[in-house]
């Protein structure tokens, strides 16, 4: 039986792990390689590395970080942030990413998903969506770290992106990111019903209970950063809790 995945997320800027609230106010949370090794030992099923540095120089540093993390890691690695072209995707894959997350660039040009999926396969073409709640049961896609509303409906966008070639969706509830209030469960349910690719829940998880809620709302994988970075819970703690509550996990 396929197990639910626990995915620690490393937001990386200029070679360091950082974490902010609603993408602002970044705090230093250590070395990416050390973090990656620790999480693998704790039983992480996969790792997501998001390059949140905004400059070309930061991006080059990110490629080096990906190489170093790849060398230290024997579980899958997804890398996102700043992927603008098939060439960017290829650079990340060659550096050691197994999957590439595409966000803003896919909104600007959905064909990019098609190009990357055709060249490298759907299984490594991950659509990253930042969703902002605009009304009960309705969410809009926001890009550029929440600065821009696109007017796109999240559910429709996910369907279109899957038609283009997205093989998995990393769904972040922008309103919840870094707030520690738990995932937006209605959003997760709407996503799980709308598409049949795997869904990674992201944004707002603060406790093992939140992760359990995410799984029960239909997520195939749950992503979290803060709860792992500051040592409140290990990945192992979370998996044990999920197991006790009837969720299949790899222990």
């Amino acid at each position: 039986m396929l197990t639910k995945r626990i995915i620690p997320c490393l937001d990386v800027a200029d070679g360091r792990v950082v974490k902010g609230v609603k993408f602002q106010g970044l705090r230093d949370a250590g070395s990416p390689v050390e973090r990656a090794k620790t999480y693998e030992q704790q039983g992480a099923d996969e790792l997501v590395l998001l390059d949140v540095s905004a400059t070309p120089e930061g991006r080059r540093t990110a490629l080096k970080t990906v190489e170093e993390v790849r060398g230290a890691l024997s579980i899958p690695l997804t890398v996102g942030g700043g992927v603008r072209s098939a060439r960017d995707a290829q650079n990340l894959l060659e550096a050691g990413a197994d999957k590439v997350g595409i966000n803003t660039a896919a909104v600007k040009d959905p064909e990019l998903l098609n190009v990357i999926a055709r060249r490298f396969g759907r299984q490594c073409t991950i659509l990253a969506v930042d969703a902002k709640r605009v009304a009960e049961g309705r969410w809009q896609v926001v890009v550029l770290s929440g600065a821009d509303d696109t007017g796109l409906d999240v559910v429709q966008w996910m369907k279109d992106a899957c038609d283009k070639g997205a093989g998995e969706i990393l769904l972040t509830c922008w309103d919840r990111d870094g707030t520690r209030e738990g995932y937006d469960l209605k959003l997760l349910r709407a996503a799980a019903d709308a598409v049949n690719v795997p869904i990674i829940a992201s944004g707002g998880a603060d406790s093992p209970e939140h992760l359990l809620q995410g799984v029960r709302a239909g997520a195939d994988a749950v992503l979290a950063a803060s709860i792992f970075h500051y040592g409140e819970y290990t990945v192992g703690d979370v998996k044990k809790y999920l197991k006790e509550n009837g969720v299949e996990v790899r222990l």
Binding site: M1, L2, T3, K4, R5, E40, D45, E46, E67, R70, G71, L73, S74, I75, P76, L77, L93, E94, A95, G96, A97, D98, K99, R118, R119, F120, G121, R122, Q123, C124, G167, E168, N196, V197, P198, D220, A221, R250
Partner: protein
């Protein structure tokens, strides 16, 4: 130290395979040359990408025959993910395209009622007679799979909307639908056992 030829496929992400081999104590070299593929003691057929593109690359580089020969002679060869599917006769992914035909079966897509691709860790259970394969969680990233265990091979199986071939072995040939290089210490153990196989042709 084992030197392992990794077949250059043009599209596949090889960094993880290389990292896995190095952790297992081997050193990789890349080639798409038929003579080198025939001569290598250990060869890896990696697989990311589509069935038709994979076969086209093998045909264009004249690798079909040397690979078929390696399999016929049971020489240490590891096929990963799409690599396993290429051993088959055909795939629903690209109807009409012939595979290497080592296994007279067709690879089929997971049913639409499941989340596809299958992405994540699934429990694999070896059937009796496996020497390399052991029980454990393996990391999968696939939309197509082989259902029937081919005659002459021993297999390990996993379940995703029904039982399928997670991996299979015959002599020194190992074909994995999952990614051993991404399957943690368990996958590393499998890579090491395969690397320990001697090439009878040497």
């Amino acid at each position: 130290m084992r030197k392992v030829l990794v077949i250059k496929t043009g599209v596949a992400n090889l960094a993880s395979v290389v990292a896995g081999l190095r952790r297992a104590g081997a050193r990789e070299y890349f080639s798409d040359d038929p003579g080198e593929v025939a001569a290598a003691t250990h060869a890896v057929l990696p697989g990311v990408g589509a069935f038709a593109a994979g076969m086209e690359m093998l045909e264009k580089n004249g690798l079909v025959e040397p690979l078929q020969k390696r399999f016929a002679q049971n020489r240490p060869t590891l096929a990963v993910c799409l690599g396993l599917q290429l051993l088959c006769a055909a795939s629903e992914e690209d109807p009409g395209v012939e595979g290497l035909g080592i296994i007279p079966e067709k690879v089929r897509r997971f049913p639409d009622c499941l989340r596809v691709p299958q992405l994540g860790w699934n429990m694999t259970e070896p059937t009796p007679g496996c020497a390399l394969l052991q029980a454990g969680y393996a990391y999968f990233a696939n939309s197509y799979r082989l259902c029937e265990q081919p005659p002459g091979w021993t297999a390990s199986r996993a379940d995703y909307g029904g039982s399928f071939v997670a991996a299979m072995e015959r002599g020194s040939i190992l074909a994995c639908q999952f990614h051993p290089e991404l399957s943690g210490p368990w996958g590393l153990g499998l890579l090491k056992r395969w690397l320990d196989r001697e090439d009878a042709a040497c």
